[in-house]
Subunit: 490 residues, 2 copies
Amino acid sequence: MLPIATLNPELEAPLYRQLHANIKELIESGRLADGSRLPATRELAGQLGLNRTTVSAAYELLESEGLISGHVGRGSFVTRSGTLKNRVNWREALAGSAASTPAAPASTPLASFSSSRPSELLFPLEEFRVTCEEVIHGPEAQTILQLGSPSGYPPLRRYLHELARTEGVARDSDDILITSGCQQAFSLLQSTLVRHGETVLLEDPVYPGMRAAFERSGARLIGVPIGRNGLDLEALERILEHERPRLLAVTSNFQNPTGATLPLAARKSLLRITQAAGVILVENDIYGALAYEGEPIPSIKQLDETGDTILLRSFSKIAFPGLRVGWVIGPRPLIEKLTEAKQWSDLHTDQLSQAILLRFAQSGRLEQHRRRMLASGRERLHAVLAACEKHLPPAVEFTRPRGGMSLWIRLPEALDAGELLARAEREGVTYLPGRFFAVTHPEANSLRISFAGMAPDQIRSGIAILGRIFQNELERVRAHSPLTEAPAMV
Amino acid sequence: MLPIATLNPELEAPLYRQLHANIKELIESGRLADGSRLPATRELAGQLGLNRTTVSAAYELLESEGLISGHVGRGSFVTRSGTLKNRVNWREALAGSAASTPAAPASTPLASFSSSRPSELLFPLEEFRVTCEEVIHGPEAQTILQLGSPSGYPPLRRYLHELARTEGVARDSDDILITSGCQQAFSLLQSTLVRHGETVLLEDPVYPGMRAAFERSGARLIGVPIGRNGLDLEALERILEHERPRLLAVTSNFQNPTGATLPLAARKSLLRITQAAGVILVENDIYGALAYEGEPIPSIKQLDETGDTILLRSFSKIAFPGLRVGWVIGPRPLIEKLTEAKQWSDLHTDQLSQAILLRFAQSGRLEQHRRRMLASGRERLHAVLAACEKHLPPAVEFTRPRGGMSLWIRLPEALDAGELLARAEREGVTYLPGRFFAVTHPEANSLRISFAGMAPDQIRSGIAILGRIFQNELERVRAHSPLTEAPAMV
């Protein structure tokens, strides 16, 4: 079996390019030796949950580069490896770490539901420019350009801490660390809290970057199913009957990929359950500010009288993802450890971006921008839900988030979302098959629709195309075999 | 023995504040229990190579916060711990990771020789502003604010790659990864190449950030002594007779802390030695662009026909340390692995800073700024060398770097640079005792002088004060005991 690594759906590289880069790396590192045979496209497609067209496209690209050659009826063979002059045996030196997932440049499809990020057309460029100019002409410019603190740019840190105290999120026993986005918070929590072989509970399905960060520590990952109302607490309790996990990471609002939100009562129960079991609770709340409908629910951190919950937040989803600034709020002894890990990871987070985001927030421009994001997000959410109601066959189920960027579609079990992606791509529509998000329960029949980055018209056209493809496939399957009943919707 | 962690000299927090933060964390995490006795100031000073005044100042601060209380003749006792409401046992949860080293705000001494960073007075603020405005008003502004690539901002990556190829540094088999400063490159190399318990060779003395990054992987560190001409190759060969290290990291130009540069012949020998032993060679060259005198020597990477050497460079020392952008050049299979590790560490490096630094370089402003830095660095280097010649007692030896930011002073063995620091601080002069930089050979009688951040007059006054303190101490010691001969200068 080819050791193909996790693909990162947020980077929007076409699947065939990601696969191409993976196999190329296996060849160039010598892990696929000269002359060795690649799996047949059907076989590899099955292994990865991709369609054959995707695998074929990757093979064609490899062939065009002279890395493999195909022989009709015999398959494809590696034609070049070990031709570098290197004396270090990089294959051996790198064995044991997972294969790479480089990000190839993106192509632009008709309707891309595959990336959960804001549309760059919504970026308030003029306000960003004004903010930037205020910062570079301000009295702090020189200080910002000098080496900073691992804890974060002090004025930003004070601002966020004060905000968190005002909101009742930070207690006296809490402190704050600025990170280079939320991904770094996962990575620091992993290296600080989780030892090799320890058990970590993640939502299943979950954002692959969270899974990858904990996987790198050699943690044993167990997925806790996500239901209509977020984490399935009964499933969690069953797991805790025979497991002693180190920590549980949960996305309280508009979870990626399902869009599910944990209700107030469930948040309280979750606190009771994890406290009784002595499990450290990490609350990932990077989508909470994007509530398009309904009243916001207090964060788990806010509800936690003990102050032990660790809260992660970020500017990425509501401002500019290219500026990498997030933060962690948690008990002071933990924050001090995380700060040390942060220091030896990258000294400190880029100060210019910290200063710009602080000014953006303090000037009120962030809140103005957020209101516009909420208006446009609401419009897109309504568009995607209405289109799903209208175009998806009745046997297809989907979640109904009230904020965030994604919803989750579950097809009848006979359908394979990975296989159907090829057809969708041919019609200019992309999405991410559900198995990219699996922890321990891969679902071949589910998929994620990220709607935040696209105009309502694109959303409607894209969902209409998907509806037709799913309908056609259902009819084809029905013609060949009795339909499997759709399972209870999560 | 109190588990006090590595202090980070680059962050310029006074030593007593760093120590205070360390002990406070031990108390608040519960690792120092309520009622337990702190070591006597003399005892802790001895353990850490600090002076008693520093330890006393830290204890006083703890006492003022009600965390400890002193009883004459009995010592100091912890008076508060475990008073937080937390239910998670953070002491137990965090056991095994080293204590933290938070960065306290700096006080400004008369002459601070303790931080190897450029003077912020030399930052070309106007040129930075113009560059920044060109970027935010340029056609790429929207793209820069969107999520980017783990490999780096593509135009910057292409620019640096092209530059490295033109210089003959990058070969066809090489690729490039943009990192969040060089510290992140150490950290990624550690997690990608070094497994727990494997041996890593570092220069001794070495920049503590490099030591800490490899230490965190659980690597076994061995220090290779630095001589007058950089790494002591004979010592290296002796070590290689009975050790099988995974990698060796070496700073080819103006090493931090010693200022030593590896001559051309030694670079070639080093390549032969490490290749014969199968040791991966990491060349850290963040100071190479700061050559104030003499002709530049080809980098080890450039001399390495196999292409296996891994080269680290950065904008931090020649532009703006607060913008965290460095890069790694190495064999493609390695860069692909590092890119994956980078992706799950923090997705990608801040794009705004990458774009600004690219524009700064492409506009020719970086090179103009570098010339000014070279002129001012040359002036400072001459000032510090002349002042050392003039003011240091003859028994004191010092290195004579031709670039970079630091030189290394070795006092006669009877003198303790940690003890003498208290006297220097009372007169407004700071430096870093040599033992902060030790890997396996701590030297109580050495110290680092970082001269790049200060005006020539400050340098002269500061060295004059140090010369007087060292002279007085030498006389005191001579009066009490026969003088130990100074060892051969490194």
